[in-house]
Symmetry: C2
Subunit: 250 residues, 2 copies
Protein backbone atom coordinates (compact mmCIF):
# COMPACT_ATOMS: atom_id res chain seq x y z
CA UNK A 1 0.00 0.00 0.00
CA UNK A 2 1.29 3.44 -0.86
CA UNK A 3 2.37 5.12 2.34
CA UNK A 4 1.76 8.78 3.11
CA UNK A 5 2.32 11.19 5.97
CA UNK A 6 -1.29 11.01 7.02
CA UNK A 7 -3.78 10.39 9.78
CA UNK A 8 -4.70 6.74 9.15
CA UNK A 9 -8.08 5.59 10.43
CA UNK A 10 -7.37 1.99 11.43
CA UNK A 11 -10.31 -0.41 11.93
CA UNK A 12 -10.11 -3.08 14.63
CA UNK A 13 -11.87 -6.49 14.60
CA UNK A 14 -15.30 -6.56 16.27
CA UNK A 15 -15.34 -10.30 17.07
CA UNK A 16 -13.09 -13.26 17.76
CA UNK A 17 -12.79 -13.92 14.01
CA UNK A 18 -9.22 -14.40 12.71
CA UNK A 19 -7.77 -11.00 11.77
CA UNK A 20 -7.26 -12.16 8.16
CA UNK A 21 -11.03 -12.72 7.86
CA UNK A 22 -11.93 -9.11 8.62
CA UNK A 23 -8.84 -6.93 8.03
CA UNK A 24 -7.05 -6.49 4.64
CA UNK A 25 -3.38 -7.41 4.86
CA UNK A 26 -2.49 -3.96 3.49
CA UNK A 27 -3.68 -2.47 6.78
CA UNK A 28 -1.05 -4.45 8.67
CA UNK A 29 1.69 -3.14 6.38
CA UNK A 30 0.54 0.40 7.14
CA UNK A 31 0.33 -0.28 10.89
CA UNK A 32 3.91 -1.56 10.95
CA UNK A 33 5.12 1.86 9.84
CA UNK A 34 3.20 3.83 12.48
CA UNK A 35 4.67 4.83 15.86
CA UNK A 36 2.14 7.43 17.00
CA UNK A 37 -1.43 6.56 17.86
CA UNK A 38 -4.64 8.11 19.10
CA UNK A 39 -6.61 5.28 20.72
CA UNK A 40 -9.82 4.75 22.63
CA UNK A 41 -8.17 2.21 24.93
CA UNK A 42 -4.39 1.84 25.28
CA UNK A 43 -4.42 -1.75 26.52
CA UNK A 44 -6.56 -3.09 23.70
CA UNK A 45 -4.61 -1.05 21.14
CA UNK A 46 -1.31 -2.55 22.36
CA UNK A 47 -2.86 -6.02 22.40
CA UNK A 48 -3.98 -5.63 18.78
CA UNK A 49 -0.56 -4.40 17.63
CA UNK A 50 1.14 -7.34 19.35
CA UNK A 51 -1.44 -9.70 17.90
CA UNK A 52 -0.88 -8.66 14.29
CA UNK A 53 2.90 -8.43 14.74
CA UNK A 54 4.49 -10.00 17.82
CA UNK A 55 7.65 -7.98 17.16
CA UNK A 56 5.84 -4.63 17.00
CA UNK A 57 8.12 -2.06 18.69
CA UNK A 58 5.48 -0.94 21.20
CA UNK A 59 8.07 0.59 23.53
CA UNK A 60 8.94 3.08 20.75
CA UNK A 61 5.32 4.17 20.30
CA UNK A 62 3.24 6.99 21.74
CA UNK A 63 -0.42 6.52 22.59
CA UNK A 64 -2.85 9.36 23.29
CA UNK A 65 -6.15 8.34 24.83
CA UNK A 66 -9.32 9.65 23.23
CA UNK A 67 -12.52 8.45 24.87
CA UNK A 68 -15.70 10.16 25.94
CA UNK A 69 -13.98 11.49 29.09
CA UNK A 70 -11.15 13.21 27.21
CA UNK A 71 -11.30 17.02 27.60
CA UNK A 72 -11.95 18.32 24.04
CA UNK A 73 -9.27 21.00 24.38
CA UNK A 74 -6.61 18.26 24.68
CA UNK A 75 -7.34 16.68 21.30
CA UNK A 76 -5.59 19.20 19.05
CA UNK A 77 -2.29 18.54 20.84
CA UNK A 78 -2.53 14.82 20.06
CA UNK A 79 -1.88 15.57 16.39
CA UNK A 80 1.52 17.12 17.04
CA UNK A 81 3.50 14.13 15.63
CA UNK A 82 1.55 14.41 12.37
CA UNK A 83 2.26 18.15 12.14
CA UNK A 84 5.93 17.27 12.65
CA UNK A 85 5.85 14.89 9.68
CA UNK A 86 5.13 11.53 11.34
CA UNK A 87 2.17 9.47 10.13
CA UNK A 88 -0.36 8.59 12.84
CA UNK A 89 -3.07 6.02 13.46
CA UNK A 90 -6.50 6.40 15.08
CA UNK A 91 -7.91 3.19 16.60
CA UNK A 92 -11.12 2.78 18.51
CA UNK A 93 -11.93 -0.08 20.87
CA UNK A 94 -13.54 -2.03 18.01
CA UNK A 95 -14.71 -1.39 14.47
CA UNK A 96 -14.14 1.67 12.29
CA UNK A 97 -12.84 4.75 14.09
CA UNK A 98 -14.97 7.91 13.88
CA UNK A 99 -18.17 5.90 13.39
CA UNK A 100 -20.26 5.56 16.57
CA UNK A 101 -17.30 6.63 18.74
CA UNK A 102 -15.40 9.84 19.64
CA UNK A 103 -12.75 9.34 16.92
CA UNK A 104 -14.10 12.03 14.62
CA UNK A 105 -12.73 14.89 16.72
CA UNK A 106 -9.03 14.52 15.73
CA UNK A 107 -10.16 13.92 12.14
CA UNK A 108 -12.08 17.20 12.20
CA UNK A 109 -8.98 19.01 13.43
CA UNK A 110 -6.74 17.32 10.86
CA UNK A 111 -9.15 18.33 8.07
CA UNK A 112 -9.23 21.93 9.34
CA UNK A 113 -5.42 22.06 9.21
CA UNK A 114 -5.23 20.55 5.74
CA UNK A 115 -3.54 17.35 6.97
CA UNK A 116 -4.15 14.20 4.90
CA UNK A 117 -6.68 11.74 6.31
CA UNK A 118 -6.75 8.14 4.99
CA UNK A 119 -9.60 5.77 5.98
CA UNK A 120 -8.70 2.07 5.90
CA UNK A 121 -11.10 -0.80 5.23
CA UNK A 122 -12.41 -2.90 8.10
CA UNK A 123 -15.47 -4.23 9.87
CA UNK A 124 -18.29 -1.82 10.69
CA UNK A 125 -21.15 -3.37 12.63
CA UNK A 126 -23.50 -0.61 11.41
CA UNK A 127 -22.74 -1.20 7.74
CA UNK A 128 -22.60 -5.00 7.93
CA UNK A 129 -25.91 -5.09 9.81
CA UNK A 130 -27.45 -2.90 7.11
CA UNK A 131 -26.11 -5.15 4.32
CA UNK A 132 -27.48 -8.32 5.90
CA UNK A 133 -30.84 -6.90 7.04
CA UNK A 134 -32.40 -6.88 3.58
CA UNK A 135 -33.75 -3.40 4.36
CA UNK A 136 -33.32 -0.38 2.13
CA UNK A 137 -29.61 0.32 1.60
CA UNK A 138 -30.32 3.29 -0.67
CA UNK A 139 -31.59 5.40 2.22
CA UNK A 140 -30.65 4.86 5.87
CA UNK A 141 -29.93 6.69 9.12
CA UNK A 142 -27.82 5.81 12.13
CA UNK A 143 -29.02 7.34 15.41
CA UNK A 144 -26.65 6.04 18.10
CA UNK A 145 -28.51 5.33 21.35
CA UNK A 146 -32.23 5.91 21.83
CA UNK A 147 -33.50 7.60 25.04
CA UNK A 148 -33.56 5.44 28.20
CA UNK A 149 -36.81 6.84 29.61
CA UNK A 150 -39.57 4.51 28.51
CA UNK A 151 -42.06 7.13 27.29
CA UNK A 152 -39.34 9.09 25.43
CA UNK A 153 -38.04 5.88 23.92
CA UNK A 154 -41.45 4.83 22.60
CA UNK A 155 -42.02 8.30 21.20
CA UNK A 156 -38.64 8.18 19.40
CA UNK A 157 -39.34 4.68 18.05
CA UNK A 158 -42.68 5.86 16.64
CA UNK A 159 -41.06 8.90 15.05
CA UNK A 160 -38.37 6.75 13.43
CA UNK A 161 -41.06 4.38 12.15
CA UNK A 162 -43.09 7.23 10.62
CA UNK A 163 -40.01 8.64 8.90
CA UNK A 164 -39.01 5.18 7.70
CA UNK A 165 -42.41 4.74 6.05
CA UNK A 166 -42.57 8.20 4.45
CA UNK A 167 -38.93 8.48 3.32
CA UNK A 168 -38.17 4.76 2.81
CA UNK A 169 -35.28 5.05 5.26
CA UNK A 170 -33.79 2.16 7.21
CA UNK A 171 -33.37 3.33 10.82
CA UNK A 172 -30.34 1.98 12.68
CA UNK A 173 -29.48 2.32 16.37
CA UNK A 174 -27.61 0.61 19.21
CA UNK A 175 -28.21 -0.26 22.86
CA UNK A 176 -25.97 -1.13 25.78
CA UNK A 177 -25.74 -4.94 25.58
CA UNK A 178 -27.39 -5.76 28.91
CA UNK A 179 -30.52 -3.97 27.70
CA UNK A 180 -30.82 -5.73 24.30
CA UNK A 181 -33.72 -8.03 25.19
CA UNK A 182 -35.68 -5.16 26.71
CA UNK A 183 -35.03 -3.05 23.60
CA UNK A 184 -36.29 -5.77 21.27
CA UNK A 185 -39.36 -6.31 23.45
CA UNK A 186 -40.14 -2.59 23.38
CA UNK A 187 -39.66 -2.45 19.61
CA UNK A 188 -41.94 -5.42 18.97
CA UNK A 189 -44.69 -3.96 21.19
CA UNK A 190 -44.38 -0.36 20.03
CA UNK A 191 -44.08 -0.73 16.26
CA UNK A 192 -46.89 -1.55 13.88
CA UNK A 193 -47.15 -5.39 13.58
CA UNK A 194 -46.01 -5.33 9.94
CA UNK A 195 -42.94 -3.11 10.48
CA UNK A 196 -39.68 -4.99 9.96
CA UNK A 197 -37.15 -5.36 12.79
CA UNK A 198 -33.64 -6.71 12.29
CA UNK A 199 -31.33 -7.71 15.13
CA UNK A 200 -27.69 -8.18 14.10
CA UNK A 201 -25.73 -9.82 16.88
CA UNK A 202 -22.04 -10.85 17.19
CA UNK A 203 -21.39 -9.66 13.65
CA UNK A 204 -18.44 -11.40 11.93
CA UNK A 205 -18.11 -13.92 14.79
CA UNK A 206 -17.58 -17.31 13.13
CA UNK A 207 -19.58 -19.17 15.80
CA UNK A 208 -22.21 -16.80 17.15
CA UNK A 209 -23.15 -14.33 14.40
CA UNK A 210 -26.92 -14.10 14.13
CA UNK A 211 -28.60 -11.57 11.85
CA UNK A 212 -32.37 -11.94 11.61
CA UNK A 213 -35.09 -9.80 10.08
CA UNK A 214 -38.77 -10.34 10.73
CA UNK A 215 -41.97 -8.39 11.22
CA UNK A 216 -42.68 -6.95 14.68
CA UNK A 217 -45.56 -9.44 15.04
CA UNK A 218 -43.18 -12.36 14.47
CA UNK A 219 -40.65 -11.11 17.05
CA UNK A 220 -43.51 -11.06 19.60
CA UNK A 221 -43.76 -14.84 19.20
CA UNK A 222 -40.05 -15.70 18.97
CA UNK A 223 -37.75 -16.85 21.73
CA UNK A 224 -34.45 -14.98 21.86
CA UNK A 225 -31.66 -13.95 24.19
CA UNK A 226 -29.42 -11.17 22.91
CA UNK A 227 -28.39 -9.83 26.31
CA UNK A 228 -24.69 -9.12 26.91
CA UNK A 229 -23.89 -9.63 23.22
CA UNK A 230 -22.94 -6.77 20.89
CA UNK A 231 -26.00 -6.01 18.76
CA UNK A 232 -27.29 -3.54 16.20
CA UNK A 233 -31.01 -2.84 15.78
CA UNK A 234 -32.66 -1.83 12.51
CA UNK A 235 -36.25 -1.06 11.69
CA UNK A 236 -37.87 -0.52 8.31
CA UNK A 237 -41.42 0.41 7.37
CA UNK A 238 -40.95 1.49 3.74
CA UNK A 239 -41.42 0.02 0.26
CA UNK A 240 -40.11 -3.51 -0.21
CA UNK A 241 -37.13 -4.62 -2.29
CA UNK A 242 -37.65 -4.23 -6.03
CA UNK A 243 -40.07 -1.32 -5.55
CA UNK A 244 -39.06 1.44 -7.97
CA UNK A 245 -39.65 4.11 -5.34
CA UNK A 246 -36.42 3.05 -3.65
CA UNK A 247 -34.47 4.35 -6.66
CA UNK A 248 -36.20 7.68 -7.01
CA UNK A 249 -34.21 10.82 -6.35
CA UNK A 250 -35.29 12.37 -3.07
CA UNK B 1 -13.02 -18.59 7.71
CA UNK B 2 -15.81 -20.87 8.88
CA UNK B 3 -17.91 -21.78 5.87
CA UNK B 4 -21.70 -22.02 5.92
CA UNK B 5 -24.52 -22.68 3.49
CA UNK B 6 -25.37 -19.02 3.31
CA UNK B 7 -25.96 -16.01 1.12
CA UNK B 8 -22.56 -14.29 1.27
CA UNK B 9 -22.50 -10.55 0.62
CA UNK B 10 -19.17 -10.11 -1.14
CA UNK B 11 -17.65 -6.60 -1.37
CA UNK B 12 -15.71 -5.60 -4.49
CA UNK B 13 -12.85 -3.03 -4.67
CA UNK B 14 -13.89 0.54 -5.48
CA UNK B 15 -10.55 1.68 -6.92
CA UNK B 16 -7.39 0.46 -8.62
CA UNK B 17 -5.85 -0.35 -5.23
CA UNK B 18 -4.31 -3.83 -4.89
CA UNK B 19 -7.01 -6.25 -3.71
CA UNK B 20 -4.97 -7.08 -0.60
CA UNK B 21 -5.18 -3.42 0.46
CA UNK B 22 -8.98 -3.37 0.60
CA UNK B 23 -10.23 -6.98 0.85
CA UNK B 24 -9.50 -9.40 3.75
CA UNK B 25 -7.86 -12.62 2.52
CA UNK B 26 -10.62 -14.61 4.25
CA UNK B 27 -13.07 -13.27 1.64
CA UNK B 28 -11.05 -14.90 -1.13
CA UNK B 29 -11.18 -18.27 0.67
CA UNK B 30 -14.97 -17.96 0.84
CA UNK B 31 -15.20 -16.89 -2.81
CA UNK B 32 -13.22 -19.96 -3.91
CA UNK B 33 -15.97 -22.19 -2.52
CA UNK B 34 -18.85 -20.41 -4.25
CA UNK B 35 -20.26 -21.46 -7.63
CA UNK B 36 -23.54 -19.54 -7.70
CA UNK B 37 -23.69 -15.77 -7.86
CA UNK B 38 -26.15 -12.91 -8.03
CA UNK B 39 -24.27 -10.02 -9.62
CA UNK B 40 -24.90 -6.48 -10.79
CA UNK B 41 -22.67 -6.98 -13.84
CA UNK B 42 -21.56 -10.40 -15.10
CA UNK B 43 -18.46 -9.21 -16.93
CA UNK B 44 -17.01 -7.33 -13.98
CA UNK B 45 -17.94 -10.19 -11.61
CA UNK B 46 -16.06 -12.68 -13.80
CA UNK B 47 -13.13 -10.30 -14.11
CA UNK B 48 -12.91 -9.99 -10.33
CA UNK B 49 -13.05 -13.76 -9.79
CA UNK B 50 -10.29 -14.29 -12.36
CA UNK B 51 -8.28 -11.48 -10.81
CA UNK B 52 -8.32 -12.94 -7.27
CA UNK B 53 -7.81 -16.50 -8.53
CA UNK B 54 -6.66 -17.03 -12.14
CA UNK B 55 -7.76 -20.68 -11.89
CA UNK B 56 -11.29 -19.88 -10.69
CA UNK B 57 -13.63 -22.41 -12.39
CA UNK B 58 -15.83 -19.75 -13.95
CA UNK B 59 -17.25 -22.19 -16.53
CA UNK B 60 -18.79 -24.17 -13.63
CA UNK B 61 -20.51 -21.11 -12.16
CA UNK B 62 -23.98 -19.62 -12.56
CA UNK B 63 -24.53 -15.87 -12.63
CA UNK B 64 -27.91 -14.19 -12.21
CA UNK B 65 -28.02 -10.51 -13.10
CA UNK B 66 -29.59 -8.15 -10.61
CA UNK B 67 -29.53 -4.51 -11.66
CA UNK B 68 -32.08 -1.74 -11.65
CA UNK B 69 -33.68 -3.15 -14.81
CA UNK B 70 -34.29 -6.64 -13.35
CA UNK B 71 -38.03 -7.43 -13.01
CA UNK B 72 -38.59 -7.77 -9.22
CA UNK B 73 -40.60 -10.97 -9.67
CA UNK B 74 -37.49 -12.71 -11.06
CA UNK B 75 -35.38 -12.21 -7.96
CA UNK B 76 -36.87 -14.94 -5.73
CA UNK B 77 -35.91 -17.57 -8.33
CA UNK B 78 -32.27 -16.51 -8.20
CA UNK B 79 -32.00 -17.97 -4.70
CA UNK B 80 -32.87 -21.49 -5.84
CA UNK B 81 -29.28 -22.85 -5.48
CA UNK B 82 -29.22 -21.63 -1.87
CA UNK B 83 -32.54 -23.33 -1.12
CA UNK B 84 -31.03 -26.51 -2.62
CA UNK B 85 -28.12 -26.31 -0.18
CA UNK B 86 -25.47 -24.48 -2.22
CA UNK B 87 -23.87 -21.33 -0.78
CA UNK B 88 -24.24 -18.23 -2.94
CA UNK B 89 -22.52 -14.87 -3.35
CA UNK B 90 -24.00 -11.44 -4.05
CA UNK B 91 -21.63 -8.98 -5.76
CA UNK B 92 -22.37 -5.49 -6.91
CA UNK B 93 -20.39 -3.53 -9.47
CA UNK B 94 -18.22 -2.01 -6.74
CA UNK B 95 -18.27 -1.71 -2.97
CA UNK B 96 -20.54 -3.44 -0.47
CA UNK B 97 -23.60 -5.17 -1.94
CA UNK B 98 -27.00 -4.01 -0.66
CA UNK B 99 -25.68 -0.53 0.16
CA UNK B 100 -26.55 2.12 -2.44
CA UNK B 101 -27.43 -0.58 -5.01
CA UNK B 102 -30.28 -3.06 -5.73
CA UNK B 103 -28.59 -5.95 -3.84
CA UNK B 104 -30.90 -5.78 -0.84
CA UNK B 105 -33.79 -7.45 -2.66
CA UNK B 106 -32.42 -11.04 -2.62
CA UNK B 107 -31.26 -10.45 0.96
CA UNK B 108 -34.80 -9.47 1.94
CA UNK B 109 -36.13 -12.68 0.38
CA UNK B 110 -33.43 -14.82 2.02
CA UNK B 111 -34.28 -13.30 5.41
CA UNK B 112 -37.99 -13.94 4.87
CA UNK B 113 -37.25 -17.60 4.15
CA UNK B 114 -34.98 -17.99 7.16
CA UNK B 115 -31.87 -18.54 5.02
CA UNK B 116 -28.55 -17.52 6.56
CA UNK B 117 -27.07 -14.22 5.35
CA UNK B 118 -23.38 -13.45 5.97
CA UNK B 119 -21.99 -9.96 5.27
CA UNK B 120 -18.26 -9.86 4.47
CA UNK B 121 -15.90 -6.95 5.13
CA UNK B 122 -14.87 -4.65 2.31
CA UNK B 123 -14.68 -1.08 1.08
CA UNK B 124 -17.76 1.12 1.39
CA UNK B 125 -17.37 4.58 -0.07
CA UNK B 126 -20.21 5.86 2.12
CA UNK B 127 -18.65 4.65 5.35
CA UNK B 128 -15.05 5.54 4.45
CA UNK B 129 -16.12 9.04 3.41
CA UNK B 130 -17.91 9.45 6.74
CA UNK B 131 -14.84 8.27 8.70
CA UNK B 132 -12.49 10.67 6.93
CA UNK B 133 -14.83 13.68 6.86
CA UNK B 134 -14.40 14.53 10.54
CA UNK B 135 -18.17 15.05 10.73
CA UNK B 136 -20.44 13.45 13.31
CA UNK B 137 -20.16 9.64 13.09
CA UNK B 138 -22.62 9.14 15.95
CA UNK B 139 -25.55 10.30 13.86
CA UNK B 140 -25.68 10.23 10.06
CA UNK B 141 -28.00 9.64 7.11
CA UNK B 142 -27.41 8.42 3.58
CA UNK B 143 -29.87 9.75 0.99
CA UNK B 144 -28.74 8.32 -2.35
CA UNK B 145 -29.23 10.85 -5.16
CA UNK B 146 -30.70 14.33 -4.67
CA UNK B 147 -33.30 15.67 -7.15
CA UNK B 148 -31.99 16.88 -10.52
CA UNK B 149 -34.35 19.83 -10.89
CA UNK B 150 -32.49 22.87 -9.62
CA UNK B 151 -35.25 24.31 -7.41
CA UNK B 152 -36.07 20.90 -5.90
CA UNK B 153 -32.40 20.22 -5.33
CA UNK B 154 -31.85 23.50 -3.47
CA UNK B 155 -34.94 22.88 -1.37
CA UNK B 156 -33.68 19.39 -0.45
CA UNK B 157 -30.21 20.72 0.37
CA UNK B 158 -31.72 23.33 2.71
CA UNK B 159 -33.89 20.72 4.40
CA UNK B 160 -30.90 18.41 4.94
CA UNK B 161 -28.93 21.36 6.37
CA UNK B 162 -31.73 22.27 8.79
CA UNK B 163 -31.99 18.67 9.98
CA UNK B 164 -28.22 18.39 10.29
CA UNK B 165 -28.17 21.45 12.57
CA UNK B 166 -31.11 20.39 14.75
CA UNK B 167 -30.31 16.67 15.03
CA UNK B 168 -26.50 16.83 14.68
CA UNK B 169 -26.72 14.45 11.73
CA UNK B 170 -24.10 14.15 9.01
CA UNK B 171 -25.94 14.10 5.68
CA UNK B 172 -24.44 11.91 2.95
CA UNK B 173 -25.42 11.68 -0.72
CA UNK B 174 -24.05 10.87 -4.16
CA UNK B 175 -24.18 12.32 -7.67
CA UNK B 176 -23.55 10.96 -11.15
CA UNK B 177 -19.83 11.70 -11.69
CA UNK B 178 -20.20 14.07 -14.64
CA UNK B 179 -22.28 16.36 -12.42
CA UNK B 180 -19.91 16.48 -9.43
CA UNK B 181 -18.56 19.99 -10.01
CA UNK B 182 -22.05 21.39 -10.51
CA UNK B 183 -23.20 19.66 -7.30
CA UNK B 184 -20.36 21.14 -5.27
CA UNK B 185 -21.01 24.58 -6.73
CA UNK B 186 -24.70 24.33 -5.83
CA UNK B 187 -23.87 23.16 -2.31
CA UNK B 188 -21.40 25.99 -1.71
CA UNK B 189 -23.88 28.61 -2.94
CA UNK B 190 -26.98 27.16 -1.25
CA UNK B 191 -25.69 26.29 2.22
CA UNK B 192 -24.97 28.75 5.00
CA UNK B 193 -21.33 29.95 4.67
CA UNK B 194 -20.29 28.20 7.89
CA UNK B 195 -21.84 24.80 7.06
CA UNK B 196 -19.24 22.11 6.47
CA UNK B 197 -18.98 20.31 3.11
CA UNK B 198 -16.83 17.23 2.53
CA UNK B 199 -16.02 15.82 -0.90
CA UNK B 200 -14.56 12.30 -0.84
CA UNK B 201 -13.24 11.37 -4.26
CA UNK B 202 -11.50 8.21 -5.57
CA UNK B 203 -11.69 6.63 -2.12
CA UNK B 204 -8.99 4.00 -1.48
CA UNK B 205 -7.20 4.85 -4.73
CA UNK B 206 -3.47 4.95 -3.87
CA UNK B 207 -2.77 7.79 -6.31
CA UNK B 208 -5.89 9.91 -6.55
CA UNK B 209 -7.79 9.67 -3.28
CA UNK B 210 -8.78 13.14 -2.10
CA UNK B 211 -11.03 13.65 0.92
CA UNK B 212 -11.43 17.28 1.95
CA UNK B 213 -13.70 19.01 4.42
CA UNK B 214 -14.14 22.77 4.57
CA UNK B 215 -16.81 25.39 5.19
CA UNK B 216 -19.11 26.30 2.30
CA UNK B 217 -17.47 29.76 2.19
CA UNK B 218 -14.05 28.15 1.65
CA UNK B 219 -15.27 25.89 -1.17
CA UNK B 220 -16.51 29.06 -2.94
CA UNK B 221 -12.90 30.22 -3.18
CA UNK B 222 -11.23 26.88 -3.97
CA UNK B 223 -10.27 25.51 -7.34
CA UNK B 224 -11.37 21.93 -7.90
CA UNK B 225 -12.26 19.42 -10.58
CA UNK B 226 -14.11 16.33 -9.39
CA UNK B 227 -15.96 15.63 -12.65
CA UNK B 228 -15.95 12.05 -13.95
CA UNK B 229 -14.46 10.74 -10.69
CA UNK B 230 -16.44 8.67 -8.18
CA UNK B 231 -17.33 10.99 -5.31
CA UNK B 232 -19.36 11.10 -2.11
CA UNK B 233 -20.74 14.37 -0.73
CA UNK B 234 -21.30 15.07 2.96
CA UNK B 235 -22.62 18.14 4.72
CA UNK B 236 -22.71 18.92 8.43
CA UNK B 237 -24.14 21.88 10.31
CA UNK B 238 -24.24 20.47 13.86
CA UNK B 239 -22.13 20.67 17.03
CA UNK B 240 -18.39 20.29 16.55
CA UNK B 241 -16.20 17.35 17.65
CA UNK B 242 -15.83 17.06 21.42
CA UNK B 243 -19.23 18.72 22.04
CA UNK B 244 -21.07 16.61 24.61
CA UNK B 245 -24.34 16.94 22.68
CA UNK B 246 -23.01 14.46 20.16
CA UNK B 247 -23.14 11.72 22.82
CA UNK B 248 -26.60 12.43 24.14
CA UNK B 249 -29.29 9.84 23.60
CA UNK B 250 -31.74 11.06 20.98
Amino acid sequence: MKFKTALYLVPIPISEAPVSDVIPSGNIEILRQLRHFIVENVRSARRYLRHVDPSFPIADCTFSVLDRHTPPEEVADMLRPLRDGFPMGVMSEAGCPAVADPGSHPVEIAQREGLTVVPLVGPSSVLMALMASGFNGQGFSFHGYLPIDDADRRKTIRRLETESASRLMTQIFIETPYRNNRMLDTLARTLSPSTMICVACDISDPEHERIESAQAREWMKRKYDFDKRPAIFLIYAGAKGGDARRYERK
